[in-house]
């Protein structure tokens, strides 16, 4: 079976300069793939290309055997943007109801996802008055409504406490066990250990990719954080 997401020679220009340089990448079915890299390395841009909202300068992005962004994929790929994209002047429940209708999800599913992201009891609160972490979880909930086959999540755990982060990562793995493919970005290196596969981006290039164990073996470290820092430093040419 071919990869769930397959990127070949992807080049993207933003603001007059090339920010992704000939990216090659395969994301396997039913796994949690971590997209890591320093701020500005191109994680969001790559994810936008995968969901088909990024104008690209060259190369191909194939998702579930169709070109990224084709209409058939819009039902099967869920995208959580880095900044929460929900309506601040609607309540939690109203936001979810709207996205549920748009995505063709049922009313009981709305109650279900509220539980999944731990927003029970806040259904009637305006999204604009939620705390940062609650806001992010509401944005995540809207993506889970129709149980897409591929989930593209841009820094879903930013601003969450350690317990919530652990729960969410546990939940991501449950989804993957159920057959969902997840591409999750983070610039918190200590989350790398929670992924099945890793891709490290650096200045618009894939620096390394592989499983956490494989990368530890390659770099001869036990600590992924240290491994990545040394890889990035080496690529920068600093000692």
């Amino acid at each position: 079976m071919s990869a769930a997401i397959s990127v070949r020679g992807l080049r993207v220009e933003r603001g007059g300069r090339e920010v992704l340089h000939a990216i090659d990448l395969d994301v396997e079915h039913g796994r949690v793939t971590g997209l890591l890299g320093p701020s500005g390395s191109g994680k969001t841009t790559l994810m936008r290309a995968v969901v088909g909202v990024q104008l690209v300068a060259g190369g191909s992005v194939v998702v579930l055997e169709s070109n990224a962004g084709t209409p058939a994929l819009r039902q099967r790929v869920g995208y959580q943007t880095q900044d929460p994209s929900v309506y601040g002047d609607l309540t939690v429940d109203e936001n979810l109801q709207y996205f549920a209708t748009v995505l063709g999800a049922s009313r009981p599913r709305v109650t279900e996802v509220v539980g999944l992201v731990g927003l029970d009891g806040l259904e009637r609160q305006l999204a604009g008055s939620l705390s940062g972490g609650e806001h992010a979880r509401l944005s995540l909930a809207t993506v889970l409504l129709n149980e897409p086959d591929v989930l593209v999540l841009d820094e879903p755990t930013v601003g969450l406490d350690p317990m919530l982060r652990r729960d969410l990562w546990g939940f991501f793995h449950e989804l993957a066990t159920g057959g969902t493919t997840l591409l999750v970005s983070s610039h918190v290196m200590d989350e790398a250990d929670r992924c099945d596969d890793l891709v490290l981006l650096q200045e618009g290039r894939v620096l390394v990719s592989g499983t956490p164990e494989g990368l530890k073996r390659e770099t001869g470290t036990v600590d992924l954080d240290a491994a990545f820092l040394s890889l990035i430093d080496a690529a920068d040419g600093t000692p």
Partner: protein, 245 residues
Amino acid sequence: MSPRRTRATALRVLRQLRHDPRTIVLLLAVPCVLQVLVRALFADSPSVFQSLGVPLLGLFPFVAMFIVTSITMLRERTSGTLERLLTTPLARGDLLVGYALAFALVAAAQATLVSALSFGLLGLESGHRPLSVIALAIANAVLGMALGLFASAFARTEFQAVQFMPAFVLPQILLCGLIVSRDEMAEWLRVISAVLPLTYAYDALARLASSDELTARFWADVAIVVGVTVVALVLGAATLRRRTP
């Protein structure tokens, strides 16, 4: 497009408005207050009020919906919800028609209220066609909405969007024939006014206000208003790009 998604979008826009009661009150009350002011201003010359009153009924919704829509759409662009929606099965038509339905409903409430006040209490004559006046006011509102939607594509910030109101709307009000009759305008102004949609909206309202029979010219006006609305909506849809730099 799907009727279910279009309806959900209209409902969502109305719900957003419901959480902003002050805007609702402003939308409904401001035109009433302005109409009362115009009436008081021309207390000694009722004929002037007669000729201004009906066109104004149609212009209020046009201006209000232009502003409300361009700001709402700009917010949708800058908050990331538009990008998110464009990754879902929602068609661009669902979004635009959803907006049009929601704001047409608001415009209907607005136009009905100002009309009731004007015809009932302020003594404005409707030319025996109050319902047609309201219908035309709603058509104007949807025209304003469609132009606002299109204009919002060229605004990066809310400041710019607000400035589009004097830029897009004021020249149309100045040149539509309300302030100076088109026959008395300099030739070049008349040419400009002929390509501005509000000119035809004004002309249709003015013809309704007179109690004469409705001529073919009236129906041509209406057709132009509807046609420009459709063109603006199609152009607006073209500005909603799924892929952006």
